[in-house]
């Protein structure tokens, strides 16, 4: 269970997240959507204890992220951010292996090796284990980071715009994978997404933010309605029902 209570953050006087209170289901897939600058990434950042909130609190699995010991928290919670730049030249196997760090402090056990292999397989990266990250395509690199985060084997997973820069096929594969992680592995995943159709297709729950506040918190079906969308995006968006799924169609 992820409990966000009245979280507020301002950068240099400008409010970015204001009074956000949420209860996110566990297990389950929640998508956070909204226009640019709504504060989605910042909220995720605060939830992952990468940034500190000015006020309010976030509890994940009963642990207060601001005060809990970081290494203990890392066994329950993992985050994947958009930018993944680093100086070290690593192979895929190295990177995925780092996902086990919160559990083994850097000393790999045989079980760790199995888990690493499993994560690599889950993300279809077999054969690329010994390639360096800078030799991979953008999509492959993204999958490698996803494998690392999965390898961390946490109950809670926070993904910040994981589909950025991925082509359609890889985007769908990633979302299917996330769905599998929730259904088969019982994880609770929170994903920040731009595409509302993708969000509606895969998420159990949608949270929409606008100008730092939560303006919608409910099921995907309820989210996909023209009046709701108009309120959030200030645009006319028609919603059509196709094959028992609601699909948003942008006005030309």
């Amino acid at each position: 269970m992820i409990e966000v209570r009245n979280v507020t953050k301002a950068y240099g006087g400008a409010p970015v997240v204001t009074g956000v209170t949420l209860d996110l289901p566990a297990p389950g897939l929640t998508a956070i959507v909204g226009p640019n600058g709504a504060g989605k990434s910042t909220l995720l950042s605060i939830m992952a204890r990468l940034s500190a909130a000015d006020s309010g609190s976030v509890r994940i699995g009963g642990m207060d992220v601001a005060t809990a010991r970081s290494d203990l928290l890392a066994r329950r919670l993992a985050i994947l951010r958009q930018e993944n730049v680093m100086t070290a030249r690593l192979t895929v196997a190295d990177l995925v292996g780092f996902g086990r760090f919160p559990h083994n402090g850097g000393r790999p056990t045989p079980q760790d090796r199995d888990r690493i292999a499993a994560s690599i397989a889950f993300l279809n990266l077999e054969g690329l284990e010994h390639r360096f990250l800078d030799e991979l395509s953008g999509g492959q690199r993204q999958r490698a980071f996803m494998a690392m985060v999965l390898c961390q084997d946490t109950d809670y997973l926070l993904l910040d715009e994981p589909l950025n820069g991925l082509d359609m096929r890889h985007a769908v594969e990633t979302m299917r994978l996330v769905r599998r992680a929730v259904d088969d592995l019982g994880k609770s995943v929170v994903v920040v997404l731009h595409d509302i159709n993708v969000a509606a297709a895969y998420a159990d729950r949608i949270v929409a933010m606008k100008a730092g506040r939560v303006v919608f918190d409910g099921t995907s079906r309820d989210f996909m309605s023209a009046p709701v969308l108009r309120g959030i995006y200030d645009m006319e968006i028609a919603v059509h029902e196709i094959d028992d799924r609601r699909v948003a169609v942008l006005d030309r």
Partner: protein, 324 residues
């Protein structure tokens, strides 16, 4: 992170380290024994402290640069660029200003070092806490601030010197290099201890340092207490830089050379990289001194040469676009 002993690259790393160790030891032996005229009983105690001093400085520079580069996520920066050396000089000048040079001379050299190093450590910790924002990129702001503080301290030191003694000014002082000839043997004990303790600690946390090189966000996500760790690391870097500055003076680019050579030789994992950089540093400094002193008969220019070579490395790195 598969089992290290099985991976071929890890085995190659061990072989490389062994070669480097042999080279370093070889140079040390050579330094102690080459061109001895007269009694050994005189030469050995004369050369031993100088060798010890060179080793301590080499190890301190190597370790502090590798760690600093991990913390700053950048391979072209070195800790002395942050003005630690000018802070050191400024503290010395300020102390003379405050207490008078005679009072200072009576203070034991060891305690003076401890005092100066403590001030430097406090300063670096304060600077870090004050400046480092939540985003890892704030580290560049931190370093640039450090550099400007460096200019500030150098100017302040110069100002104080002229106010103290307007007739006698050594404007030349800031221009000069590290001098390996005038190593203060009295400081060896305390600096060697400080450097030894710091390096031992750094080696003991090498796995955490590896995680740190993934960047701030990934490191926090994997459970590393980033802010606390980086504070401690900068603390240690400050101590290491104090030690090398106290022994020989400011060294800016040499660390670049040894750190990047180490990455080339053994990769980026910290245990091999730290060890390799230290060994390369010892080999370069001691070997260089042997060559300069005995083969080329150019005494006293070691500091200049290593800085120059390090500087070339810096420009090459910049040209190859290794920066962020």
């Amino acid at each position: 992170m598969a089992d290290a002993a099985l991976r071929p690259s890890a085995r190659r790393g061990t072989v490389v380290l062994a070669c480097l160790a042999a080279a370093a030891i070889g140079c040390a032996v050579l330094y102690m024994t080459i061109g001895v005229r007269g009694s050994w009983a005189f030469v050995l105690p004369f050369r031993a402290p100088k060798l010890a001093g060179m080793v301590v400085v080499a190890v301190a520079v190597a370790f502090s640069t590798v760690v600093f580069q991990t913390v700053t996520q950048n391979r072209i920066l070195t800790p002395t660029i942050m003005g630690f050396d000018s802070l050191y000089v400024a503290i010395q000048t300020a102390l003379v200003f405050g207490f008078g040079s005679r009072a200072l001379a009576t203070l034991d050299a060891d305690w003076r070092f401890v005092g100066e190093a403590s001030v430097m450590v406090c300063f670096s910790v304060v600077l870090f806490r004050w400046l480092l924002s939540e985003h890892g990129r704030g580290i560049h702001l931190l370093v640039l601030t450090g550099v400007v503080f460096g200019v500030l301290f150098r100017s302040l030191a110069s100002l104080l010197q002229r106010v103290l003694d307007p007739n006698e000014f050594s404007a030349l002082q800031d221009l000069l290099f590290a001098s390996f000839n005038a190593i203060d043997a009295g400081l060896l004990g305390v600096t060697a201890t400080a450097v030894g303790v710091c390096c031992a600690w750094l080696l003991s946390i090498h796995r955490t340092l590896d995680v740190l090189s993934l960047g701030r966000d990934a490191a926090i996500g994997l459970g590393v207490p980033h802010r606390r760790l980086v504070t401690r690391l900068l603390f240690v870097v400050a101590v290491l830089v104090s030690a090398s500055t106290a022994l020989v003076g400011p060294i800016a680019f040499f660390g670049l050379l040894v750190a990047n050579l180490a990455y080339l030789a053994v990769g980026h994992r910290h245990r091999p990289a730290l060890l390799a950089s230290a060994l390369i540093a010892v080999f370069t400094v001691v070997g260089g001194q042997v060559v300069l002193e005995h083969a080329l008969k150019l005494d006293g220019v070691l500091g200049v040469v290593i800085e120059f070579v390090g500087g070339i490395v810096f420009i090459v790195l910049l040209m190859r676009g290794v920066h962020r």
